[in-house]
Amino acid sequence: MQLHELIKQDIRYKEALNACMNCGMCTAVCPAAEFSDYDPRILLNIVQSQDDDALEKLLKSDYIWLCGQCMSCKTRCPRGNVPGLMINVLRRYSQELGYFTESRRGRQQYALHKVLNGNVLGQGYCIVPEAVKPELHPEQGPVWEWVYRNKEELYDRVGANLHKPGAGVLRQIDSGSLAELQAIYDQTGATEMGKKIEDFSVKKAEQLGYDTDDEDGMEKYFMDVYQGKI
């Protein structure tokens, strides 16, 4: 199937694009356009051109990974287009086809998948305090470091129920609910998607000379994509 036909299969494509008239309103309000070499108007132009070569190039580039998903473009577009939603469609196919490993920002999906899906399936949260390690988050400052080091007492002090059964803030999610999350992942394609991200990433890591037979090799690849070294 041609690439431009393939991406139309995503239900979000229809919601994201109703003929762009190139007015640039979205670009004017887009923070990613302000702070990086990105332009939602140009993005939709490439998509609406239906030029498969240009599309493939786009899916292999850093470009689609620059959007910040704020959806400010949605409020402003006089045609009801949503460049930020088209981004989700393009990122999906970039990953399904393995194109994401061709760009530095695309390769970061490996780290995002490992951390976020690990947290969701392991603990039932997207973010848990343990994952915000002060050494990886210097911007969080000294108070967070203190919170991190004294989690049990501090969360208890403010009325949370950290990692304990029952209701409340940061409670332990019961095993039945975690099993349901896993079953939803299996049923709806998230497990398969995660596997694709991992397989393509291992292949890329091999190409780049990482020792992927060794656990430390992929750990190093993780840190290098997370810190933008490769």
Binding site: L112, V120, V143
Partner: protein
């Protein structure tokens, strides 16, 4: 006390009165755990509302979705599970503590309206994966909508208004709404994306004044992958820097945020920018304290700042407490309820 403004009828939203199913926020629980505790206390004790806090509820997976590591069908089915839990427990009104989640709940229910076959597919997914069936909520609101709805009742019980206790002047409050509250579906946010009322309504009802600065509607810069991946954080801090520079001439006393992520960034990036370039954005070279709306409501009602977790902020809130004339125990800040010190040292807050 009367209401001091009107909202265009195109942007008035239905907000249920009572009987809420509560969906917690990953980010709020991590960084502002006391805010969720405070919210439930206000609802149950001060407003006498029925709200169900379900241990079986999980992440909505919104951060994973906006970081593009799960398919759209997955988040729809996780959300459908939450709706199932809501109906199984006899509730019809769904309230979310997170702006990202709220945006997703609206996005998903709107998608189902436009594509009924998608709704059927998700029903099937949920049934196969969990055996559950679900109803779409009668009403979906963000938790700030509930505080907004009852702002005048809170005003009646107010202990410390948003007023400088020494001068009697209203505090100058910057409100930060969070993009996914109304930018995606303006008619689902009170006042729409342009003149969003949800925080303004609280601020005015409680005696404060809002600051209308040029970048008021600008994103805080979370950007999901743009913050979560260390290499991309320049994007995130640049967004907040632009906002701080734009609000600086107005000398705000306080920033209040609707979205938990935004509240965290507005707090932490002030510290980071100071470390990077020595800048501060408040009056007389000070930093601007940042509150969640639950913390703001709690202070107004006279809740103890340390019970609410205000010691977890990087930017010190005590100058604000002093300005408002709030009575608090300075020694209790880094201690347990029984007075034992938490940790072997006290952390360095920023001012």
């Amino acid at each position: 006390m009367q209401n001091l403004y009107t909202v265009s009828k195109d942007y008035r939203k239905e907000i249920a009165d009572d009987k809420y199913y509560y969906a917690r926020s990953c980010i709020r629980q991590n960084f502002f755990p006391g805010s969720e505790v405070t919210f439930l206390n206000i609802l149950k004790k001060d407003l006498d509302r029925d709200v169900f806090d379900d241990p079986k509820h999980t992440t909505c997976t919104g951060i994973a979705y906006h970081s593009d590591v799960i398919p759209f069908d997955t988040i729809q089915t996780v959300v459908a599970r939450h709706f199932a839990l809501m109906s199984e427990n006899g509730y019809e009104n769904f309230i979310a503590s997170c702006v990202t989640s709220f945006g997703m709940y609206i996005e998903i229910t709107e998608t189902w309206k436009h594509f009924p076959e998608q709704l059927e597919l998700i029903r099937e997914h949920l049934k196969k994966a969990t055996g559950r069936e679900f109803m779409i909520p009668k009403n979906i609101a963000h938790t700030s909508d509930i505080v907004y709805k009852y702002r005048m009742r809170i005003a009646e019980q107010m202990k410390y208004p948003l007023v400088n206790a020494k001068t009697g002047q209203p505090l100058k409050v910057v409100d930060h709404i969070g993009c996914h509250y109304a930018k995606m579906f303006p008619d689902k946010g009170e006042g729409g994306a342009e003149f969003t009322q949800v925080l303004q309504g609280m601020i005015k009802a409680w005696g404060g004044a809002t600051v209308d600065y040029p970048e008021r509607r600008h994103c805080c810069g979370f950007g999901f992958r743009q913050y979560l991946v260390q290499a991309n954080r320049g994007y995130s801090v640049s967004n907040s820097k632009k906002k701080f520079e734009s609000m600086q001439p107005y000398e705000p006393d306080l920033i209040v945020a609707n979205c938990p992520g935004c509240a965290m960034f507005m707090d932490r990036w002030q510290y980071t920018l100071n470390e990077m370039q020595g800048t501060r954005y408040g009056a007389s070279d000070t930093m601007i304290p940042v509150l969640t709306y639950e913390e703001m409501a709690g202070l107004v009602l006279g809740y103890d700042p340390w019970d609410m977790g205000l010691q977890m902020h990087q930017v010190d809130v005590t100058p604000l407490l002093d300005k408002m004339g709030v009575k608090y125990d300075p020694d209790g800040k880094y201690r347990t309820r029984t007075g034992r010190p938490i940790g072997s040292y006290t952390p360095q807050q920023s001012r």
